[in-house]
Every structure is written in structure tokens, then in C-alpha cells.
Amino acid sequence: MAVKFDLNEREVWDGNYAASQALRQADVDVVVAYPITPSTPIVENYGAYVGNGFIDGEFVMVESEHAAMSGCIGASAAGGRVSTATSSQGFALMAEVLYQASGMRLPIVLNVVNRALASPLNVRGDHADMYLGRDAGWIQFGAFNAQEAYDLALCAFKVAENHSVRLPVMVHQDGFITSHTAQNVYPLTDEKAKAFVGDFVPVDDMLDFSRPVTYGAQTEEDWHFEHKAKQHKAIMDSMPIIDDVFAEFKELTGREYNRVESYDMEDADVVIIGLGTTVETARVAAKNMREKGVKAGVVAIRCFRPFPYEEVREALKDAKAIAVTDRSSPGGAMGAFFNEVSAAMYTSVNRPLVTGFVYGLGGRDFSIEEAERIFAEQQAHADAGHITTDIQQFSGLRGPKLGFFKTARG
């Protein structure tokens, strides 16, 4: 039995420590990991739990992130609870096997501490790694602070391991801003957390020799399409199960999570929709704008995959102008998040004006003033009844204004 870990009702944890505590409480059987900034403390903390007997599971430090996820797959197929953590280049190195994990329907929980992708080399937070994973068939949760990094990691196991879901889940938090900022966190007791996550019940267990299983078969044009379609259906169908898990978590803790979070949206004309810590900045800006008479609101995506199209459309249905914020270099396209929101809103009755902002790359600070400027610009669009700027703009960039693609509706 693991040594008892004493917890206070209120702890001061950063996002990394919060995530590692969730792994400890979830009684993970095997963690296979490779360290990378800024997620390294998650596995270092886990190493400390191992060194002091606070966990019963095994901790395997491998020689690369590719091997880390490969090991997670092998361990998960062997019928136990598995988790790891990574960032940025490590996430990119894992990319091949991320698809294998979801294709084999293995309920692995991956804590991703978001960081920019090189080149140029950068250790600071942006969402390039999160975007890289968006087609990998994983459920993706976004935490905006340390408490949420902890809460969502616990929820992630419960969603992933639900036998109707059986898909891996990523829990994202912003590098440094969340991962290295100490905040008040209210943890569950070990007993409550364990009871919430529940026992791991394996499906197609490689260690059940009464029923041999083959993992990782080949399918060509005859069956591949059906397998991928079934996998897509599984992730789309996971939405109500995610809602149920969030509801159960609220009952336990009083902390409410929704796949789409809305702030000050009751009468909002102009909206910033964002991911990660940006949301908290935008909320402060929205309050300031309301003091100036601008009806500003904020919508945040808690669940990036499966993308909540209906909930986004519902949340934004009465908005006049929406700024979609992409913290990843789009590399020759509109921002991916802009495209998702636009797709959701194109099918709405009112079809609000939608513009996109690429911002905060490589950890460039996103300030309250910047968010206020974006709100003011949205108000100008709303007043004019059409988009008055380029549809894609770069916010917070040095040098002359950079923008692309003009509206044909003005």
C-alpha cells in the first residue's frame, strides 16, 4: 500500500504540481514518460512520489517522447490505468503514436503543457502543440488555471475509461502561465478522488490469456474507412458522457465545468472567444469595456475535441461581432480555431461578423489592453454592420500592421 500523502483543504500549487497530484490520486498503474520543459515538473513530482512510496504503480523513464507514448500504448493494452505528460517538441515527436493510441481505443490521459513549436526554438507557451494534436482522435480538455488542470485531469480518466468512449484524453494547460504559477487549489481527499475516478475496468485485456487479443492490425481500403468513421462517431458521441462526468464532478465539489464556458454573455454584442489563460485576460477586459458602455462578453472552449459546434453556436447566437483568438501560427490559412467557430456560426440564423486574431505566439504576453482594443474593434464592426478590417489580423506584433483576407459583405 502506498504511503498516505497529507493534503490540506487548500493547497498552493502550480499547474504542473496540480496535474501530478491528480495522477497520484487516480492511482495510475503505469506512467511512461520523458521530460520536456515546461511539463518536466509533472514527471519530476511523480518521481518524488515514487521515491517516497506515495504510489503503488510503476514509473518508467524512457529515452524519448515517442517511446513514452509507445510505452503508454503497450501498458494500456495490458489492461491498466496509464498516463503521461509532455510539451511542444516532445508532443510533436509523439505525433505518430498519438494516432495509434486513439485508433486502438486506449484510454490514456496525456497532460499537455502547451508550448510553441520550433523553429525558432522557444520554450514559452502558445497553442501550436495543442493544434498539432487536433486531428489525432483524442478528446482535448483545456484548463485555464491550476485548479482546472487538477480537476480536469481527474475528469479525463473518467471520460476516457467510460466503456462507451474508450478514447484517450489530453488535458491542456498553458506553459508557464498556468504550469509555473502557484495558485490556491482545493484538492479532493484521496478517498473522494479515488471513488470519483473509480476502478479501472479493462476491455480487450492483453493479459487475459483466456481471450487472446490482437492489437494494431492492418486494414486497407476494404476496412480502414469504417474503422476511422467508427472512431469519429465515438468521439462525437462522447459529448453527453463528458457532460455527465462534469455534472458528477460538480455534485462532488461544487465546481462547474461546461464544454463551452460563457461569461457576461446574457446581452453581449461583442465577444472574444478563446482558449487557455487568454480567457481570464479577456474576462477582465470585458468587465472594463462594460464600464465604458460596451456590451462585451467572453466565450471559452473547455473541450476543443470533440469540438462543441452546437454549444458554440448557441452561446454566440445573439452576438453581433466575434473575435476568434488563435495562439498558433496558421502557416498559410485562417487560424484553425477561427475556421471552427466560423463553421459553427455560418449555420446560425443571424450569422454574426467573425474575425480572427493570431496572437501571443512563443509566449508573447496577451494584455488586458490588447483585449480591450479587440473588443473596441468588434464594436466598430457591429456599428458599421460589416467587417471594417482584414478578417485575419496579427495582434501584439512588432512593426507594421499585418492582416489578410477582406470581407465581401461590406
Partner: protein, 317 residues
Amino acid sequence: MAITSIKNLKEFSTNNDRFEGAHTLCPGCAHSMIVRELMNCTDDNLVISSNTGCLEVSTAVYPFTSWDTSWIHIGFENAATSVTAAQVMHKVRKKKGTLKDNDAPVKFVAFGGDGSTFDIGFQWLSGAMERGHDFTYICLDNENYANTGGQRSSATPVGAHTSTAQAGTHSYGKKQKKKDIVSIMAAHGSPYVAQLAPNKWKSMAKGFQKALEVEGPCFINTVSPCCTEWKFDPKDTINLTDLATDSLMFPIYEIIDSHELNILYRPKNIISVEEYMAAQGRYKHLFKPQYRHIIDEVQKDIDAKWDLLQRREEARL
């Protein structure tokens, strides 16, 4: 039933095994012989992983599988990682008592071709060996990427023609020497490494059993003649293997605890490398006058290696 009780090949060939006859490997491919022998040499449960390669694509094409045991394939490079992580999970679940049968004995085995072992999966294999997991890695060495049409790997020997090291008017084929994977694996501190061949089936079974029995990471390189890419008649696979072991192109030996080297087979009549090469289409060009010197060079190299092997055996190094 384990091979220990099998007296002869006939009995072995009719043994009830866990590798089904229904697979799509080429007729004459030695892979299936080696795999069957591994699976027949123990009564324990097996968790097997495969790297991408001939064995993998020929044994698990949905909705069929040739594996009547737990089997996993992830990618080209990571069979050593997946099976060792499964082994770690087994250890944890045994401790926690969550296994279906907590006392069932289990062995963990990874298979890879030479491309995935010597080249693309080298890092994953090295990492798993270094971590000291209790598993056995078996390389099915046919000296090329046979699954994708015969490209050169770092296991391809000097002078062999492959699709990416082509013999022609300006080239005699592969120019670089074959990587000494057995020594590299021994240098990891492995308790047991060996090079074995399916023509010497009893010593192969014995080597497999040693690897499965000893605790820790074990590595075995097996010669697996490839009729398709080496270009010989499928009925001659074992004859060709005889030429490989008797010419000492593939000496049969083991290294225990990184230093105790034992030669497991000493040919009574050592044949020339030329005789071995003459039996295969991939060396055909070496018999043209302008490339004949390559055969002599390979012979010299093989002589030197055999000499070194014998000296290592004597010195226990």
C-alpha cells in the same frame, strides 16, 4: 507442449502451436519457422509485439489474425517499448491483484526485422535494453527491407544488390559493412545475447529457452533467408541457411553476461563465401570480372571475424 519434450522435427512440425498456419508470408520465408519455434519452446503465456515489417503485415490483416496469443503492433520502431511497458503493467497488476489469473506465467517477446532493429527502431531497442526489463527481443534478420521491395538496411552485407544500393555498371551494390548488432546488444550488459539460425533448430530452441528463462533483457539475432529478395528457390530456404552458417557468414554463438562467448556451431567443412553467394541472385553481379575482388574482400573479412570470435571465446571476452 514445450519443445523440450519434442524428439524430432516431424513431431515439431505437427505440434499444436499458437502461430496459425494461415498467414501471408512468402512461401519459403524463414520468418514463420523462427516464430513457430519461439512459440513452441515454452508452455508459458506469451505477450508478443512486432515492429512493422514482413511478419506484421502478413499475420494481422483485419479481420484475420495468425496470433493465438496476445499480440500488439504499434509502429515500425517501437515493439521493444510496447512489450516492455506491457511487462511493467503485468508487474503492477500482479502486485495489485487485478489480473484475471494472477499466477499464470507470462513471457514477453518482441519481434523486429533487421530494418526496424538495426535502423529505425535502434533507439527504442537500446532504451528497452538499458532499462533492464525482463523480455526477449528477436530480430528476424533477412538483411534488407523485404516488406517494401528490398531496400538496403544497415544489416545488408557488402556486395549485395538492393533496390536502394543497386548493382550496375558503376556499382557493386552495398558498400558499407553490416552493423555488428550482437556485440552492440551485448555491450548493453544483457544477460543473454545470441545469433541463431533455423537450420540448427535444436540450438535455436535452446537459445530461445535460455533467453526466456533468464531474467533481464535478452537479444537474439536470427538469420532468416529471404527467397524473394536474396533470390533463391523457396524450397531451398534451409539449404541456403546451411550455406549461411557453414560459410560463417552467420556464425552461431551466444554471449552470456556480456563476456562469456560460446560458439554453438563449428562447421566440419567450412565452405567459401563464394559458394554461399553463388546460390543467391542478389550477389550475381559479383561474379562479373570487374567485381570479383569484392568476393575476396568479403571472404577476408569473414575469416577475420571468425578468428576474432574464436579468440573471444577463448579469452571469455
